[in-house]
Amino acid sequence: MGEPILQLRDLRVYYYTLLGAVRAVDGVTMDVGRGEWVSIVGESGSGKSTLALAIMRLVPPPGRIVGGSILFDGTDLTRLSEAEMRRIRGRRIGMVFQDPMASLDPVRRIGDQIADVYLEHGVASSKGEAIRMAGEALEMAGLPRDWVDRYPHQLSGGQRQRALIAAAVALKPELLIADEPTTALDVIVQAKIMDLIEGLKRELGMTVILITHDIALAAERSTRIAVMYAGKLVEYGPVDAIVEDPLHPYTRGLIESAPDLWGEKRLRGIPGYPPDLRRPPSGCRFHPRCPLALERCRSEEPPLVRVGDRLVACFRALERR
């Protein structure tokens, strides 16, 4: 891992709902090195998307970044003005979302939507030039150049995701955040899209943050895996170490409940449900579901500590040091 491109420091993002503050991201600290592929995994509702949106400074109201910092290439994004932040979005950080069916404007041509990026960031000087560049971007994403004239409804889900990736990498960003880019697609298309992202990463020298709840998918191409539970980072380390020897009981549960190679669910899942993030459990947030929980886990919060080449937040994991 080279110098870090992204450093999150005690990042906290809360949604202020009528029924109380949802602590969707609650004190996350992590580094992502330049050129890495980091996958963030965790059950639904663990705060993965919120974390990604926070990096883009696009957390929707009633959500707000309430504390911590996001250092991107040394600049704290939380301190930038909206105009400065806009120059980073789409230009230095690209983002791809989960639902390709809904992420394209249904009434505008694909080419126009990609061309926007070139025009907005002053890369193209005319509409025509921007459309030509959009054609190139489509080609880079594996779609025919002349599909710039197509409307979203003329494309399949996988093709739309390619168009969206084309728009996200149009300006060759340093960092690409992909939030469950293949969840809505069937398995074969999934693999192709992942191949595309991997190819583009190599070609453009991007750093990739992939968000998924599929730990098998994460294991395939990542350099490191980060595991989130209830708004917290609970384990972070190299893929092999995490997959072969998970230290955190939650990570172990995720791996054991993951579908095997033939796509069949294994019998063991993690019993219980993720907590209500308005009133997270005291101490270790995983303790109500943890098979290894100790008395102190109820009252004391385990700190994120380094164990070998990874970070983990569990008292029991420390015993193995």
Partner: protein, 337 residues
């Protein structure tokens, strides 16, 4: 585009049953239900039966109903609405032809005002959803709809014509201004002939009626735009636009474009309500269109004139709904032809 052409053709052919149904409806109401229109007109004083009979014959009202039905339909399709009962020998078609452009001018202007007001208020509400401004705009949507047009008209005339003398209280053109009539839509005629004084004068006459009509009928747009736009603003593609660094102004523009598409389907219905509103607006502002014609002829009990006017209204409604549907097909690329 061949698909679109076919769609337009199919949709246009659907206008025929619509017009027929409305024609039948008007026919039933005006010829089947009532007693005797001639007696109704001459009603108050004594008239010898022979005179009534002769008059009925002249108007073709003594034929069996089904004959009348096709007779009148045939004539209407040829632009013949018969003669006035009151002004003997005056073809109603001539009156209607003179009045239609005035109504169209008012309705189009009122339509533009209502759409602009509705988009402005609805957008303000959607962008500041949940705020006090949003609440105020929702109230605007409810209250404007309950305003009685002649009342608003009276108050505006009081303020802008009687007290401030800024705008004329009624009519379409000052007596001192001359204008060569081409389409009968005065602002348009003035533009065509490059007659600026007449254009300004016609516009000044148009301001209050159009604003009255537009204000009262803008409420539904406020609601629709508010609801649609706040949905669209939360949709994934808007977030995707933002994630590519697009300026908020541009994002809002694209959002509006999506939010307004369903609004177009409402326009057909709304234009019918606008036509209804125009009847009251015209009467309040002495605007010589179909509505004030209807008003005059009702007090004179001139049945053929009433019948002709209502049929023309039905025709306009059908044509408008056709136009709106075609516009919709043009602006929404997803529509299946």
């Amino acid at each position: 585009m061949a698909g679109l052409a076919r769609y337009v053709a199919v949709r246009a052919s659907l206008i025929i049953p619509t017009i027929l149904i409305l024609y039948t409806l008007v026919f039933i109401i005006l010829r089947v239900i009532p007693g005797n229109p001639v007696e109704a007109v001459l009603g108050t004083r004594y008239v010898p039966p022979e005179v009534i009979k002769e008059e009925m014959h002249r108007l073709g009202l003594d034929k069996p109903l089904y004959v009348q039905y096709f007779d009148y339909l045939w004539r209407v399709l040829h632009g013949d609405f018969g003669e006035s009962l009151v002004v003997r020998g005056r073809p109603i078609a001539a009156d209607l032809k003179y009045r239609i452009p005035a109504t169209i001018e008012l309705v189009v202007a009122g339509f533009i005002v209502s759409v602009l007001l509705g988009i402005a208020t609805g957008t303000a509400a959607a962008v500041r959803r949940g705020s006090r401004l949003d609440y105020a705009m929702r109230l605007y949507g409810i209250v404007t709809y309950t305003l009685f047009i002649p009342w608003v008209g009276a108050l505006l005339i009081l303020l802008f014509a009687v007290h401030l003398h800024w705008l004329p209280a009624g009519g379409r053109l000052s007596a001192s201004v001359s204008l060569h009539r081409i389409t009968g839509i005065y602002t348009l005629d003035a533009l065509i002939t490059g007659n600026w004084p007449a254009f300004l004068d016609a516009l000044r006459h148009l301001v209050l009626p159009a604003f009255t009509l537009g204000l009262v009928l803008s409420g539904p747009y406020t609601r629709l735009v508010r609801a649609n736009l706040s949905d669209v603003l939360q949709s994934d593609f808007i977030r995707a636009y933002r994630a590519r660094g697009l300026r908020e102004g541009k994002v809002l523009r694209y959002a509006l474009r999506n939010a307004l598409i369903p609004v177009v389907t409402y326009m057909g219905l709304q234009l019918a309500i606008l036509l209804g509103g125009a009847v009251l607006t015209e009467t309040t502002y002495s605007w010589p269109g179909l509505g004030s014609y209807l008003y005059e002829r009702i007090s004179l009990r001139d049945y053929p004139a009433i019948e002709g006017t209502v049929i023309v209204f039905a025709f306009i409604v059908s044509v408008i709904s056709l136009i709106v549907d075609v516009i919709y097909a043009f602006i929404d690329p997803r529509i299946r032809y």
